[in-house]
């Protein structure tokens, strides 16, 4: 698709603005202790990030967490109150947006309504004083690349949401920026189209190798698209990690709760032997958590994070109605028969049939509701449990992850 290699400098208004050495010691973009306040509201609080060349990097967080503010600072629409932003090791704080070698895809695409699609795509080239002839060929190429070769003479109003999206991408990439900033670009599309565009974005980023910085509040989208994700909350970076690490090894209650569905069982650390930590869950008893990398002080309060799909649910082995397991929280059975598994009895509180899976919310002995997931993989109609059924829930010792309070 777009060719980026061999781009050494960008000529703008006859003067050389950027020289790319191609030598990048790790980070293409460095954000160093950047702060931004709006009166008393702290939008960004000493945020630091390193974004590598060629990376698909996502800023993820609830609305108001500061992710869009950070994107606007990178684009140059706003100035930080403290800290620095470096591109290829050089501060770009004082560089106006038009001279930064990066482009933004806006939430509503921001296509110029008074220009045709071709004129929209030609705009950045015209501003960079590319010759008329080159503009014509490159606009035609760009339209080919986004598979809308015959839309050049139409006005943006005549396009569908997905087409506008593609034109916005074509316009942002036509003069080959180093960095593409995407501000919730898929939020205006319906679910089906969104999924299709997600795949297109992944392919596009892989093909052109340009660094993407993507802002979203949709954790599913972030997991699907990104190489690395920075989770933000209240103007701070909470955790930066790869999607699988973020999902499997959340660093805090907030991350565990925000990324995907997660059960949080409160307790306290009672023992640690290497990577195996014994945790006394409140009102349930002891469980093993293995594969933990960090050290936990005995006695510290913590939470066991358990994903619904990692919990196995089975019909209770005890005779229904005769089970007194439920009222025996001190029963140390999970430890006495160590197989790395934790077992607890409970009953189905409610269920949600979703077609491919069924969600069972199981009430445990301590009254906590545990969300479990059962894939409806059995042939025929799947209906395993009813509300009120006595069930056993179980998970292996490496299924959960501990976070400290």
């Amino acid at each position: 698709m777009f060719v980026v290699s061999g781009l050494l400098f960008v000529l703008r208004a006859g003067k050389m603005v950027w020289v790319f050495t191609g030598m990048e010691n790790g980070a293409l973009l460095e954000i160093v202790d950047v702060s931004r306040h709006f009166d008393a509201f702290v939008a960004l609080d000493k945020v630091s990030l390193h974004i590598k060349a060629g990376e698909f990097f996502t800023l993820l967080g609830p609305s108001g967490c500061g992710k869009t503010t950070l994107l606007r600072l990178i684009a140059g629409f706003d100035q930080p109150d403290g800290g620095d932003i470096l591109l290829n090791g050089k501060s770009i704080i004082a560089v106006p947006p038009e001279d930064r070698p990066l482009h933004t895809i806006f939430q509503n695409y921001a296509l110029f309504p008074h220009m045709t699609v071709a004129e929209n795509i030609a705009f950045p080239l015209r501003m960079a004083r590319v010759s008329k002839q080159d503009i014509r060929t490159r606009v035609a190429e760009a339209l080919e690349d986004v598979r809308l070769p015959d839309k050049g003479s139409q006005y943006p109003d005549a396009l569908s949401g997905g087409q506008k999206q593609r034109i916005a991408i074509a316009r942002a990439l036509v003069n080959r920026p180093r960095l593409l900033l995407l501000d919730e670009p898929l939020s205006a599309l319906d679910a089906k189209l969104r999924e299709q565009m997600q795949i297109e974005l992944i392919d596009l980023q892989k093909d052109i190798g340009i660094t993407f910085i993507y802002v979203t509040h949709d954790q599913g989208e972030a997991l699907a698209l990104s190489h690395r994700i920075a989770v933000m909350d209240h103007g701070r970076i909470v955790q930066v990690d790869e999607p699988t690490r973020l999902y499997g090894y959340p660093g805090s209650r907030f991350v565990a709760d925000f990324i995907g569905k997660c059960n949080l069982l409160d307790g306290k650390v009672s023992e640690q032997q290497g990577g195996r930590v014994t945790v006394e869950l409140d009102g349930l008893g002891s469980v093993y958590v293995c594969g933990m990398e960090s050290q936990f002080a005995v006695g510290s309060r913590c939470a066991l994070t358990l994903r619904p799909e990692k919990i196995r649910i089975s019909r209770s082995s005890a005779i229904p109605g005769a089970s007194d397991n439920l009222s025996a929280p001190s029963d140390p059975s999970p430890l006495s028969s160590f197989d790395g598994e934790s077992h607890f009895p409970g009953y189905v509180h409610d269920m949600l049939y979703l077609g491919d899976v069924t969600v069972y919310n199981v009430t445990l002995a301590n009254g906590v509701l545990l969300e479990t997931l059962l894939a409806n993989s059995a042939s025929g109609r799947a209906n395993f449990f009813e509300i009120g059924d006595q069930v056993d829930v179980a998970w292996s010792c490496d299924a959960g992850h501990l976070v400290l309070d």
Binding site: A75, G76, F77, P97, E98, D99, H103, T104, Q107, N108
Partner: protein
């Protein structure tokens, strides 16, 4: 029941419209009446319109009006556009008040105070003084039209232009100005009609030999309402109507009082 309610509505609406437009209709009808008196219908004629062409005073006044309206609308449009953009960008209450106050000010007050000012600075009353006065009260209307248009624009468009390499000036020329054009044109047309129709402020700021169409009509009416007055009034009405229609098509927002 429903039908009676609708009938009542139709009748009352008809009465209101009659009240509003009957005088105008009479003027138009009698401008085609083949009689010197506005009393009874005698027959159809174009002669009053023909006579206008030979009325030197009337032609001079019409020419004055056109010159004044064009120049004041032109200058007011430039200043009003800048004011409208500034009002949107800086959102200062004081700025808004200063720009829009002349709209709300009683015309008689504007007229008197401008006259006092022109006398104080020893300015000869004439076309220039009328133009200055008209520019003063037209700026606010243009600013309103432009502001209404700006606030309906997606602010991301301006940022997108900067992001894609446009300097602030290029951004203004390539994006802001073309997108504001309907509002600017609507404002310009409003200013034109306000200027060409204005009587009160013009009355105070006009000098000898700088009579405008409304002043001319007034001086003729002092003697009698001749069919000629009807004819020139009809023409003036026609011009205003056309201009206002075009303006409302260009920028519906300004006629919704936004």
């Amino acid at each position: 029941m429903m039908a009676r309610k609708n009938l009542l509505l139709a009748v009352s609406a008809a009465l209101v419209y009659l009240f509003l437009y009957l005088p105008l209709v009479i003027v138009v009808v009698f401008s085609f009446n083949d009689s010197k008196l506005n009393a009874e219908w005698v027959g159809f004629t174009w002669k009053w319109y023909g006579k206008l062409l030979y009325n030197q005073e009337m032609l001079t006044a019409a020419m004055n009006s056109l010159i004044i309206a064009s120049v004041s609308a032109g200058i007011a449009t430039i200043l009003g556009t800048l004011a409208g953009i500034a009002m949107h960008q800086y959102r200062l209450r004081l700025l808004q008040m200063l720009v829009l106050a002349p709209i709300a000010m009683p015309e008689i007050l504007m007229g008197v105070s401008l006259l006092v000012l022109f006398i104080m600075v020893n300015m000869t009353l004439g076309l220039i003084s009328i133009m200055l006065a008209h520019i003063t009260f037209c700026i606010g209307f243009v600013a309103l039209a432009v502001q209404a248009r700006i606030s309906s624009l997606d602010p991301a468009l301006i940022e997108a232009a900067r992001d894609l390499g446009a300097t602030p000036w290029q951004c203004f020329r390539e994006i802001t100005l073309p997108l504001l054009m309907p509002g600017i044109l609507a404002g310009a047309l409003m200013a034109f009609t306000l200027s060409i129709d204005d009587f009160v402020i013009t009355f105070f700021t006009a000098g000898v030999g700088s009579s405008t169409l409304p002043l001319q009509i007034y001086s003729m009416v002092k003697i009698a309402v001749t069919p000629e007055v009807n004819a020139v009034s009809t023409l003036l009405m026609l011009v205003t109507l056309v201009v206002i229609t075009v303006a409302s098509r260009l920028s519906p927002a300004i006629f919704r009082g936004e």
